[in-house]
């Protein structure tokens, strides 16, 4: 890498920003944790972490006008990485225990509870990386740390040429669900790369490698 990528971890009050920032530093990024709009727009990459309830995360994002920052970046083709609930809120809706919440709607579809006898899906699981995935290059067979009960279980967006097809990475717990999506400038992982030991750091480094 010729220079370290400047990354903003969006600080909007949802848990674990600290771990994400430190893991990104370990992966080689120059990291700022902030909700400052100018900094978030200007960075080479924006990371949107998220833990907790879908509705709470959406509300917290709105409180810092995070959806505008994300929209602006994506409209300009500037990379964004969502993590865990930070991935889920990129979809149109989330339904958790009867609470139906509007997401940011970057992708169509609804985040719903996994059809598994034991929830949360908690621990280290394998994934099936999508064709052309940059995030999983060299770590296709590694395990990643998941902790969630809800997920996007369908991909509904048809991407037409000249836009490249998204790389869809699936995992299974009770049923198949999206473990990661790489769709143009917007990428997201349902698992926690910042908690996935060396494999997670490698994934973050792979993402940094895609930044202009």
């Amino acid at each position: 890498m010729s220079r370290s990528r400047r990354v903003v971890v969006l600080d909007y009050g949802s848990g674990n920003v600290h771990s994400a920032a430190k893991a990104l530093e370990r992966a080689g990024a120059e990291v700022t944790v902030t909700a400052d709009r100018a900094a978030a727009l200007e960075a080479d990459g924006l990371v949107v972490p998220g833990v907790g309830a879908f509705r709470a995360v959406v509300d917290q994002l709105h409180a810092v006008r995070g959806e505008e920052i994300i929209d602006r970046r994506l409209a300009g083709g500037r990379p964004v990485l969502g993590i865990c609930v930070g991935m889920q809120v990129m979809f149109e809706r989330g339904v958790e225990r009867g609470v139906d919440t509007e997401g940011l709607g970057e992708w169509p579809g609804t985040v719903t509870e996994l059809p598994a006898p034991v929830l949360p899906h908690m621990g280290w699981n394998t994934v099936e990386p999508g064709a052309g995935s940059a995030l999983f290059a060299g770590i296709e067979d590694e395990r990643f740390y998941f902790v969630h009960s809800f997920a996007a279980q369908q991909w509904l967006l048809d991407v037409m040429p000249p836009f490249p097809a998204p790389a869809l990475t699936w995992a299974e717990h009770g049923g198949r669900f999206l473990a990661a999506v790489e769709n143009g400038p917007l990428s997201a992982t349902q698992f926690h790369p910042e908690k996935s030991a060396d494999a997670g750091i490698r994934l973050l480094a792979n993402w940094l490698g895609t930044l202009e």
Partner: protein, 253 residues
């Protein structure tokens, strides 16, 4: 399903240092927490659990700083338990890098705390820790204890586990007081009963003495196994436990 079973070392901490002692007596320093955590992570620990055994508020904030130093350098999930009484405690610990919070006696004293934490942070953050003892006083034959097993409550352990899950606990850490310290193996009957009733993952704890003790706990239904002294004393390594689990047909990382 290809989810790996988890092997979790548990470290007691006091005033920001990892300590060793028998039944919380004669605590002595056991090393730098960041170094120990990094060593376990390198050996393949799937998560780390810190149990804060300090008594004072000042010492507790030292522990919070320690959690932060570990979280900054060791990139596997961290659970912190001990002395957590409110959602603000959870927020503070999460802010210092803890991923999951173990709650024990405060939830017994005030069960709605479980729902308060789950509502604010999600069920996945909350590990309900139960210190369980065999007893003729409760219908299931297992009673919940406090103070490291010295005080019996009136709670039937299985009933309490069911209620805690309903209230929003995302995981059960089931520690057998009878087995704890015996090095004679996990309480398999208790593990199986908890597995049967639970819709959330179950961590078996207490009694591990040899590498052969872990596979039966998984066979009894545990999703994860937790141990302290066998790892700290170097009697068994995480790698050896995982090899034994794999030999028993379990999926490990």
């Amino acid at each position: 399903m290809s989810l790996a079973v988890r092997v979790i070392p548990c470290l007691d901490v006091a005033a920001g240092r990892v300590v060793k002692g028998v039944n919380f007596q004669n605590l002595r320093d056991a090393g730098d927490p960041v170094e120990l955590a990094a060593r376990y992570a390198e050996q393949g620990a799937d998560e780390l659990t810190f149990l804060d055994v300090t008594a004072t508020v000042d010492d507790r904030s030292t522990t919070y700083d320690m959690v932060q130093r570990v979280a900054e350098q060791v990139f596997i999930p961290l659970t912190v338990g001990g002395g957590i009484r409110s959602t603000d405690d959870v927020a503070r610990l999460q802010g210092h890098g803890a991923d999951k919070i173990g709650v024990n006696s405060a939830a017994i004293a005030r069960p709605p705390l479980i729902a308060e934490i789950a509502d604010r942070f999600g069920a996945q953050v909350l590990v309900l820790s139960l210190d369980v003892k065999r007893s003729g006083r409760t219908p299931s034959g297992f009673v919940v204890t406090t103070h490291g097993g010295r005080t019996e409550t009136d709670l039937d352990a299985l009933e309490w586990a069911r209620r805690a899950i309903e209230l929003g606990a995302g995981e059960l850490l089931v520690n057998s007081i009878d087995a704890d310290g015996t090095k004679a193996g996990f309480d398999l009957e208790l593990t199986a009963l908890m597995h049967e009733l639970s819709s959330v993952p179950v961590i078996a704890s207490g009694g591990a003495g040899t590498v052969a003790d872990f596979a039966p706990a998984i066979a009894a239904g545990a999703d994860a196994v937790l141990a302290a002294s066998v790892f700290h004393n170097g009697e068994v390594t995480i790698g050896e436990v995982k090899a034994a689990l794999a030999a028993d047909g379990r999926i490990v990382r």
